[in-house]
């Protein structure tokens, strides 16, 4: 018996929901790479932020990417993650750090492959709370790879977040892309 088929013409459907999830800014890394990707002057008019990124390094092998907010280089961050590498699961946690995590960027030896991260920053403009982030990240190389599921960051400050900087040990590579969105409450 032939399988039943439900087909949907994707281009035909759906009205947009007005203004609940809005694009704030996008950075596409150009030729030669970039040491940092920074979002500045983030408005406080949203409830939450989301960063969606695909990540490449200028290094030959993968590079870890980090995140700071408001240019804060103090030891005001902590991070935890559950990580799978295809053969085993492990957990990591770090306190009193001067940066927090964004995920791996694929190396140049991994042709056309990019890491991916979707990171939420909750109540980022609330001046009564320290800030919490949660994210899903992964990179797969067809035979190896890593998935963080999920990971969390904390920034121990009640200041509103107005800027975000992402960087690695090596420069961030061409065609990496980072999009910042605001989510209305």
């Amino acid at each position: 018996m032939l399988p039943s088929l439900i087909g949907v013409i994707a281009s035909s459907g759906g009205a947009a929901v007005a203004g609940d999830f809005e694009s704030i800014a996008t950075v596409n890394v150009g030729s030669g790479g970039s040491a940092t990707v920074t979002f500045t002057s983030i408005p406080s008019t949203y409830q939450h932020l989301q960063i969606r990124g695909i990540t490449k390094s200028t290094a030959s092998s993968s590079d870890f990417l980090y995140l700071r907010v408001n240019s804060d280089t103090g030891t005001n961050y902590s991070s935890h993650r559950i990580q799978g590498d295809g053969s085993s699961a492990a957990a990591f946690g770090f306190a009193n750090q001067d940066q927090c995590w964004f995920g791996f960027a694929a190396g140049t030896s991994n042709t056309n492959i990019f890491g991916a991260t979707v990171l939420d920053i909750l109540d980022y403009a609330n001046t009564n709370k320290n800030k919490t982030m949660r994210a899903l990240h992964g990179v797969d190389y067809n035979g190896s790879g890593t998935v963080f599921a999920p990971f969390s960051n904390a920034w121990y400050s009640t200041s509103a977040i107005t800027s975000i900087t992402i960087y690695g040990a090596s420069d961030i590579g061409q065609y990496s892309s980072f999009a910042l969105y605001g989510i209305k409450g």
């Binding site: 399988p3 039943s4 088929l5 439900i6 087909g7 949907v8 013409i9 994707a10 281009s11 035909s12 459907g13 759906g14 009205a15 947009a16 929901v17 007005a18 203004g19 609940d20 999830f21 809005e22 694009s23 704030i24 800014a25 996008t26 969606r52 695909i54 559950i82 990580q83 799978g84 590498d85 295809g86 053969s87 085993s88 699961a89 957990a91 056309n112 492959i113 990019f114 890491g115 991916a116 979707v118 899903l136 990240h137 992964g138 990179v139 797969d140 190389y141 067809n142 035979g143 190896s144 790879g145 890593t146 998935v147 599921a149 999920p150 065609y175 892309s177 999009a179 969105y181 605001g182």
Partner: protein
């Protein structure tokens, strides 16, 4: 500012079906998110982008069962996503979110992030790699055997950056 999280298409099964497909996906978004709430008469949901059944996909997964945390992978396989290894409990629907990052970029392979919860058995996350620089224009979701049950819903969203 305009909305950037747009429902593109949705389907709710009024009767069991083994395949759900989204075709003619516009390239005008940055990412796609597919939210599926489904139950099946067997295990497994396989995702084939662009009707591509070649062995150019791979995945790495992590899963927590309530007893153990475990990780697994597969490479050079035909399917995207990762088999659900248990059948749904009575009345249970699996919840899956798949993020197809930069799906229309013709310079990069496609990385797909998945979060899936089979609440009676485990929670898991998966990273998929689709080794193709072609823009993604269609998605086919196949029940590995049997059907998706009546009441299963599948919604495709477009996320558009500035």
């Amino acid at each position: 500012m305009p909305s950037t999280y747009t429902p593109i298409a949705t389907t709710t099964l009024g009767s069991p079906a083994s395949v759900v497909s989204f075709t003619s996906i516009s390239g005008s978004y940055t990412d796609l998110r597919l939210v599926s709430v489904y139950r099946g008469t067997s295990t497994g949901i396989n995702c084939y982008p662009n009707s591509d059944f070649g062995s150019n996909k791979s995945w790495t997964a992590i899963r927590g069962t309530g007893t153990v945390a475990e990780s697994s992978r597969n490479s050079s396989i035909a399917i995207q996503d990762y088999w659900q290894t248990v059948t749904n409990a009575t009345g249970e629907f699996t919840v899956s979110k798949m993020d197809f990052m930069n799906y229309s970029n013709t310079t990069t392979f496609k990385t797909v992030l998945v979060r899936r919860d089979v609440t009676s058995a485990y929670t898991e996350a998966i990273v998929n790699l689709y080794r193709s620089t072609s823009a993604l224009t269609s998605l086919g979701l196949y029940s590995a055997s049997g059907n998706f049950d009546t009441g299963s819903t599948f919604t495709l969203y477009g996320v558009k950056s500035a």
